[in-house]
């Protein structure tokens, strides 16, 4: 690069933008937004209404997206770390949500499946579910880091058994919690018109950001993901770092599970968070992170999660025929993933460069 040619770097800026990882989910988001804007601008309408308690709430598709996409965004944080460090994915998060959600309700309900009042403070239920989810995460982590089992195979165990464990926690019953405070975490804080899950997701993001900024976790995770051998030679403990990412994912699972049960104050262990593991992995991929480990970018993954929810809400909004829904989703996902492939991005960047270069050639000549 010749420093004298800095002035003509408009094309380079564009090329650089295409190379930036966060460009992928932003582009996907823009494409979906533009599509909706063209087809039906009322998609973006947000109205201020009241719920049946008389509290003000905002409603509209955009609000639905930031509301329902939050659990996925929280899971995407943990999934990104796991992917980066262990070069594989945890496919048991859906089952783990069923478990941690069941634990929350079990603690709140005590022995009765439909109590009139809570049997334990909500914070206790949440903390217990955190401990349970983190120990299941630790179980996966041990299998991956110490026994060196492929992550997908190791987590297959919990994927298979998880929902039965969840059923067993509540004796096959479907407990229902009646309380005024509990629904707040999956609904609205009285007087605040924005859904609480969005705040929880932001809080999770800020905590992760602070942790990554003030500790060496990011560096360690990336170096283990890029080359385990070298990181060991440099004094890191790869097994421990992999292990810890699974425990962090366990914590994310507990938070997501807590929001899920708070939404409807009950849980159906057989369908709750079904297939969410696939969406979480997709969020990581849409965020432009390599699924074979190494470098990662958490904000990209989070945006990726909201892109998936954007897509889901769009499909609901346009009432795509029920049996064709997965097919539509697949088509869009393929398009997004191809768009985000490095080769394609490189090509787009080059095309922009070429468009500019004749002009540059003239001015230089």
């Amino acid at each position: 690069m010749n420093p004298n040619t800095r002035s003509k770097t408009a094309s380079e800026i564009i090329t650089g933008m295409f190379r930036k990882q966060i460009f992928i989910p932003i582009a996907a988001l823009l494409i979906l937004a533009i599509f909706n804007l063209i087809v039906d601008p009322s998609f973006f309408k947000v109205t201020l209404g009241q719920n049946n308690n008389g509290d003000p709430i905002l409603s509209g598709n955009i609000i639905s997206i930031i509301d329902y996409g939050s659990e996925l965004a929280i899971l995407a944080i943990g999934m990104t770390l796991v992917t980066a460090a262990s070069r594989g994915q945890d496919i048991s998060v859906g089952a783990a949500i069923a478990i941690s959600g069941s634990v929350v309700l079990r603690v709140l309900c005590g022995t009765n499946s439909r109590p009139d009042e809570l049997q334990a403070p909500i914070i206790v239920a949440f903390l217990v579910s955190c401990i349970v989810a983190m120990s299941f995460g630790a179980f996966n982590g041990v299998l991956v880091s110490i026994f060196k089992i492929q992550p997908m195979v190791a987590t297959l165990i919990l994927f298979t058994a998880g929902r039965s464990i969840a059923a067993w926690i509540n004796n096959n019953e479907l407990p229902v919690v009646k309380d005024d405070v509990f629904p707040v975490f999956g609904g609205y804080i009285p007087g605040v018109p924005i859904p609480t899950p969005f705040f929880i997701a932001i809080l999770c993001f800020i905590i992760t950001w602070l942790v990554l900024k003030f500790t060496n976790l990011k560096l360690y995770v990336q170096s283990v993901g890029i080359n385990e051998q070298t990181s060991r030679l440099n004094g890191l403990n790869p097994a421990f770092i992999k292990f810890i990412t699974y425990v962090i994912l366990g914590l994310c699972v507990a938070v997501a599970g807590f929001i899920k049960v708070s939404r409807l104050q009950t849980i159906n262990y057989s369908v709750v968070a079904k297939d969410i593991e696939m969406d979480a992995i997709l969020a990581v991929a849409l965020g432009g992170n390599s699924l074979s480990g190494g470098k990662f970018n958490i904000p990209s993954s989070i945006l990726g999660a909201y892109v998936i929810q954007f897509l889901t809400t769009t499909l609901y909004k346009f009432e795509v025929q029920a049996d064709a829904l997965p097919a539509y989703k697949a088509v869009v996902v393929i398009a997004l993933v191809i768009l985000s492939a490095p080769i394609v991005r490189e090509k787009i960047g080059q095309t922009f460069k070429k468009l500019r270069s004749p002009a540059q050639a003239e001015s230089n000549g």
Partner: protein, 327 residues
Amino acid sequence: MKMTKIFAVAASMVLCGSAFAACGDEGGSNSGSSDKLIKVGIINNDPNESGYRTANVNDLKATFTKENGYDASFSYSLKNEEQINFAQKYIQDEVDYLLLSAADTAGWDSVLKDAQTAGVKVILFDRTIDADESLYEASIVSDMDKEGEQAVEWLKNQNLTTYDIVHLQGVMGSAAQKGRSGALNDTAKELNWNIVAQQTAEWSSEKAQQIVQSVIDSDKKFNVIYAENDDMAKGAVAALDKANISHGVGKDVVVIGFDCNKWALEELKAGNWNYDGQCNPFQSSYIVDIINKLEKGEKLSEKTIIMDEKGFDATTITDDDVSKYGI
């Protein structure tokens, strides 16, 4: 030789095992009543599969007890091959009756032929299989079409001024979805009911909530929620609550659910929902009926027995119904 040793050990273990089993049997029949216990092998799907299955399993367990004159063994699996293995084991154990709720419709011919040669009478419950009718004594099936028809009939009798329906479907292609969707689709076409939205929420309350939310957000008017199970109805109601739309008896939106979970019937009792259709999990009384007839040597009048399905209206449901039929 090593192999012979292993074989010898295995053979002796089998012998010991059968000796013990024989002892067990004798003990059982001695302690029971003077009649010989009827030996039944029951193969069912995993009780954790759903609330329906849990109720079904509990019902069977409560009926086929020693007190009622049965020596029953239970096996659960969601996989066909495993179920077939269980069936073979029961045939070797020489059970009198094999009760079967098959995970899959195909692959049962050869094992049922074995049962026939061994003199084991086979009764199918809840689910049918693709096999020749001569291979089983009777088949007790849930009538999913009828469930849907009853609910739609009820809806018709409400004489609403307009019918603008949000239809939440189960997992596409499942028997329950087909039956429950079919009835609504037919009647809607016939009577010109307006289906505002028809989407699958895959039995999930969360997805149902999102779908109804999206219908509300696009300012579409509706006055009926037809959800093909209770969970989806609950999700829909959560979305209504959020948008401050009233629902239930005498309110703006009529809510219909299916499966008769206990909590759902309580919602019905409280007037928050309007109707709940049942998929009857209580099949044991039908099975006992058949076994009694066969034991007496009577002929069964028909092979396929279709169960009665109930439906509950919020205005007429009683506390008794809630505790008796809630699952």
